[in-house]
């Protein structure tokens, strides 16, 4: 397999109104609108044959959520970033293209509350405990307080001899 041609990626990104940058040697950072993410990842996986999705990262950007799809190809890293508004945290699942993404999407749903439509397991818990109260905010949001969550889960215990 050869190196991924920057030019080809740039062409695909231009087709879907994205912009490409290289923060470091061997890294490509591509920002894409949420509406075009499915088509672009389909290009990356099926046409450029970049098959290894290392992980999906979730970000809390204040007003928005960020999702970064980290692809690996030999010694190159390709990061595809998209943002979605916090008041409508729903995006499309890429399970059809990359079946292994199912667990990464469940993890992000657990920790950030982002819903991926099309993921069959999205309502199952992956990381959170079984007795997690449904009305608690997702734990990795900047606005949630770990101490309050621990109190609700009965993990905070008053120590007498301290």
């Amino acid at each position: 397999m050869s190196q991924v041609s920057m030019q080809q990626l740039q062409e695909y990104a231009a087709d879907s109104n994205g912009k490409v940058s290289t923060p470091r040697k061997g890294e490509m950072f591509i920002e894409i609108d949420q509406a075009h993410i499915m088509g672009f990842i389909s290009h990356v996986v099926n046409d450029l044959r970049i098959r290894l999705l290392s992980t999906i990262t979730g970000l809390d950007l204040g007003q928005n959520f960020g999702i970064i799809y980290n692809f690996s190809h030999e010694d190159q890293k390709i990061q595809v970033k998209t943002t979605l508004p916090k008041n409508q945290p729903t995006t499309v699942s890429i399970v059809e293209i990359v079946p292994g993404a199912i667990l990464y999407e469940m993890e992000i749903h657990d920790l950030f509350g982002i819903t991926f439509t099309g993921n069959p397991w999205i309502n199952l818990k992956l990381l959170l405990p079984d007795n997690w109260p449904a009305d608690l905010p997702p734990p990795l949001l900047k606005s949630s307080k770990p101490a309050e969550i621990r109190k609700r889960l009965h993990l905070e215990v008053e120590r007498k001899n301290e």
Binding site: D130, P146, I149, R150, L153, L155
Partner: protein
């Protein structure tokens, strides 16, 4: 007379049960090293048993979180009296590196009474062995 005999046998053959209360497996690997022939805690009579109902000593590794808290309590309540608990590792003692996390407790002693803490991340097999023997010295 009979009491002295039971105490003598308890002291020379403590059956241990190991529970991993969401540990990272570091302490568990050291515990396995303690049990296997290199360090061989079996020469002091300590046998790993598969059920808490046969155990005298409960060895807990890992930070106790919301998922494992109730399970640990259940396992502890299944053990027959007299029972002893050894908390192995920094996480079991205080929460370790996970202390302050949304889903981490602050040690095993909030859930079950602990007789002995063995610190370390992970503790050496010698330290675990020393702890078990020291606990046996206290068993009367």
């Amino acid at each position: 007379m009979f009491e002295r005999l039971t105490n003598w046998s308890r002291k020379r053959s403590p059956w241990v049960y190991h529970i991993n209360a969401s540990s990272c497996n570091g302490c568990d690997i050291e515990l396995v090293a303690t049990l296997t022939p290199r360090y061989d805690i079996e020469r002091f009579g300590a046998v790993l048993v598969p059920s808490p109902r046969h155990a005298d000593v409960l060895m807990v590794t890992g930070v106790v979180n919301a998922q494992t808290k109730d399970r640990l309590r259940q396992v502890y309540e299944q053990m027959p009296e007299p029972k002893h608990v050894i908390a192995i590792g920094a996480c079991a003692a205080s929460g370790g590196v996970f202390k302050g996390c949304y889903n981490a407790g602050q040690g095993v002693q909030d859930v079950v009474p602990v007789d002995m803490f063995i610190p370390g991340c992970p503790p050496r097999p010698e330290a675990i062995m020393y702890g078990v023997l020291k606990l046996l010295g206290e068993v009367k």
